[in-house]
């Protein structure tokens, strides 16, 4: 066999191995994401619920020996580390044995177990909140041809601290791991212990930095555009929505308390709106709203902006006036120069979309493998606008890591 033939045969064998060993198109819909959510409400991925398959990842709970299967329930409350949901886990051992749960790659309509290449990802991260028992010896990791795990204690988990603690597994550092041939991408193994704990924000991350993006689109046909505008006939009208919306896209997760803020960037706290070009004392107030949906929609969400009376003068969706308007708010715009310290200018954060006024009701429903692209709508009050003037504003959306 000559050298050329050897090379060709080697290449064929290698390609064959690639085809047999692993499917490189990890996470069918999200192959190019820098942050892949296994259980995180703000990022695209496969947010898992028991008995379901998302994005070709199946949630499995198992036991062996005398252990009972872990109880893993999704709980929604304000103590979640991220969004408003987390796993509440309970493990009970009566005799020697193993139990645990994992996310398994599957394929086809029958959800046949398969292998995937996750070598593009550098870390597997999650939060744990120990509650009762001792979680120190729980093993966490992935499975290729065998389980490749490390203990929670080796990840620095303090069992006596009942607070959220971050765990970061360096995937390439797992002993003997073959990341191009992964069956279980998140594996939790317990042995002979009784414990309760919570898990949240389980993600795979690539080593590269990812991206934050915002795109301006026309409401009329969702086409891209470059300027936020209103029709000239709004002059003299009260609060009116602009003809465009800003679609956000986040694939970057550098801080666990990230925030995307929105404000005008006009250089003065008093210029929190459209400013007349020839007379900067003339200001048209602006407002904004964020929604997971394209508005208006068949659910009765409208782009008509209503205003309540004294003392709050709150802005809300006029189409929702029959319900509690607090759930459908528009927020008065503030300028960056005001250095807003609260959440008033936060459109999206690790807690979710700022889709309601109450801190406990940040809108984060229905997250799944589908793309998470919240939409920011803008409005302005033209009641006191003046004819013959041109008004302008810079609207800035900024990702903060705090």
């Amino acid at each position: 066999m000559n050298k050329k033939t050897k090379i060709i045969l080697s290449a064929v064998v290698y390609l064959f191995m690639l085809a047999v060993v692993a499917d490189n198109s990890f996470a069918d819909n999200l192959a190019d994401k820098y942050v892949y959510s296994l259980f995180n409400e703000n990022f695209n991925g496969a947010t898992q619920e028991a008995g379901t398959v998302y994005d070709n990842i199946k949630y499995n709970v198992w036991n062996g020996g005398g252990n009972s299967r872990p109880a893993v329930d999704i709980v929604a409350d304000s103590t979640a580390k991220e969004g408003n949901k987390y796993y509440s886990c309970s493990i009970s051992s009566t005799t020697n044995g193993w139990s645990g749960f994992c996310y398994t790659f599957v394929t086809g309509s029958s959800n046949v177990e398969t292998r995937r290449d996750i070598s593009a990802f550098s870390t597997l991260e999650f939060y744990i909140r120990p509650k009762t028992g001792d979680v120190s010896n729980i093993q966490v990791g992935v499975t290729d041809s065998a389980d490749r795990t490390v203990s929670l204690s080796s990840l620095g988990v303090n069992n006596s601290s009942h607070t959220w603690q971050k765990c970061t597994i360096n995937l390439t550092g797992l002993p003997s791991v073959n990341l191009i041939n992964i069956k279980n991408t998140f594996l939790f193994i317990t042995s002979n212990l009784t414990a309760t704990f919570d898990l949240d924000s389980i993600v795979l991350k690539r080593s590269s930095s990812g991206s934050f993006d915002a795109a301006l689109k026309n409401i009329s046909d969702s086409s891209s555009t470059t300027k936020i505008t209103w029709d000239e006939t709004v002059l003299g009208s009260s609060w009116t929505a602009a003809n465009q919306y800003i679609e956000l896209s986040l694939d970057k997760f550098e801080s666990d308390t990230w925030k995307i803020k929105i404000y005008t960037n006009n250089g003065s706290a008093s210029k929190n709106g459209l400013v007349a070009v020839t007379d900067e004392t003339k200001i048209i107030p602006m407002c904004w709203r964020i929604s997971k949906n394209t508005l208006p929609n068949s659910d009765g969400d409208t782009l008509q902006i209503a205003q309540s009376g004294a003392p709050n003068y709150a802005l809300y969706d006029k189409g929702k006036s029959a319900t509690d308007p607090s759930y459908y708010p528009w927020f008065y715009m503030v300028d960056f120069a005001e250095h807003e310290s609260g959440d008033y200018d936060v459109a999206w954060s690790y807690k979710g979309f700022h889709a309601a006024k109450d801190e406990n009701y940040w809108g984060m429903m229905d997250m799944s493998k589908e793309g998470i692209y919240p939409k920011v709508y803008l409005g302005a009050d033209f009641t006191n606008a003046l004819g013959g003037l041109t008004y302008r504003a810079n609207v800035k959306l900024e990702l903060f890591n705090e």
């Binding site: 915002a214 006939t233 302005a380 004819g387 013959g388």
Partner: protein, 379 residues
């Protein structure tokens, strides 16, 4: 310390500062802009007038004009043809108006021989620079046709009732209409409201109303039908009176008249309303002048919980004050109070007054004087 060390320390401070405080990683900026021209007429809002009363005879159009600027001057023209003859123009001008203004533009009183009118609204807006813009309704080249009529009919169904409305063509004031509920008639019934010419001499009325002050006369036909359920009737009494008190009379033959009770007067819309129980002729009279006794309560003594003092013939703007014998006011009753002009013995605080004699003081806005008297309240 040399410059190199200073530079290194400065760099270190900056690095530490950046690490300690929050930092913005990424951002996107979008520009927003809106350009308003100096005059930006947005719209004219007007409901078409389709009929004008041949007797009241005035077409008066109400129009809202919305526009963008401040301190514009505006001229509203009502351009109209009578009987298809030459163009007439009625004009209303306004200056220094902002964003929205309301116009009423009227024709002079039409002649009884006129049969049709067509009209168009033209609004001219002008800013301080002289820039001018025009708005038209229905359009710059079309006119709204109006019929000059004295009656209106509608079918009132047995199952659903219905409304018969006679529009005067004057949009500043109310219209004449009767609302019939279901079950008023056993079978479907066509009801016609006709506005009639006032008789040269008003018919006499034994109830004390002046015989010379009829201001509107309607027939509700077919005559003589007793309604299965009361119908709410509103009659427009026209613009040619400044009177504020009216009475509604009903007759089967325009000879013998009876007073309709519980009539309310709407001075803003120039209408009177009452529940009627029979078709027939309905006339609106200016109420004759009332004596002081017509306002006083009929009962001089009232026992708590059994009756109340009722003050009569009072309306918007009138008031009643109750004083104890020491001159301290304990209650004020005004138009708009839930119980009307009645006193049940309660103070303003809601508690009952002590048994005893009290002084009432009636203030009648139109009479410009106070009417006083005493009453006794028993607990």
């Amino acid at each position: 310390m040399n410059n190199k060390i200073i530079c290194l320390l400065s760099s270190l401070v900056i690095v530490i500062f950046a690490a300690v405080f929050s930092y913005a990683a990424d951002y996107k900026v979008f520009s927003a802009e809106i350009v308003f021209s100096s005059v930006t007429p947005a719209s004219i809002t007007h409901s078409a007038i389709t009929t004008v009363s041949s007797i009241n005879g005035i077409l008066k159009a109400k129009a809202y004009v919305d526009f963008g600027s401040n301190n514009l001057s505006a001229v509203a023209d009502l351009r109209y043809y009578v009987n298809g003859q030459s163009l007439n123009i009625s004009t209303v001008s306004k200056g220094a108006i902002n964003h929205r203004t309301e116009f009423y533009i009227a024709t002079p009183k039409l002649n009884s021989s006129d049969t049709s009118v067509s009209y168009q609204l033209k609004i001219t807006l002008q800013d301080s620079s002289g820039s001018t813009s025009y708005l038209y309704w229905p359009s710059s080249s079309t006119y709204q046709s109006v019929n000059i009529v004295n009656s209106s009919s509608n079918v009132v169904t047995a199952s659903g009732g219905g409304t018969v409305k006679f529009e005067s063509g004057n949009q500043q004031y109310g219209d004449t209409e009767i609302v019939f509920s279901s079950g008023t008639f056993a079978t479907d019934q066509t009801i016609t409201i006709t506005e009639l010419t006032l008789p040269s001499m008003s018919p006499s009325y034994s109830g004390g109303v002046s015989t010379s002050q009829m201001v509107a006369l309607y027939s509700v036909t077919p005559l003589g039908i007793t309604l299965g359920a009361p119908a709410r009737a509103t009659f427009y009494y026209g613009t040619e009176t400044s009177a504020t008190r009216f009475e509604l009379m009903r007759s089967d033959d325009q000879i013998t008249w009876e007073k309709v009770s519980n009539v309310t007067t709407d001075l803003t819309n120039k209408t009177v309303s009452a529940d009627i129980t029979k078709t027939g002729y309905y006339a609106i009279y200016v109420s004759g002048s009332l004596s002081d006794n017509d306002y006083r309560p009929a009962k001089r003594v009232v026992v708590q919980g059994r009756d109340v003092f009722k003050f009569n013939n009072l309306s918007d703007g009138d008031s009643v004050k109750i004083y104890n014998v020491n001159g301290k006011r304990i209650r004020e009753i005004k138009s708009g109070d839930a119980e009307g002009f009645k006193w049940d013995g309660r103070r303003d605080s809601g508690s009952y007054a002590e048994s005893g004699t009290y002084i009432y003081q009636i203030k009648v806005k139109d009479k410009g004087k106070l009417i006083s008297g005493t009453i006794a309240f028993v607990k």
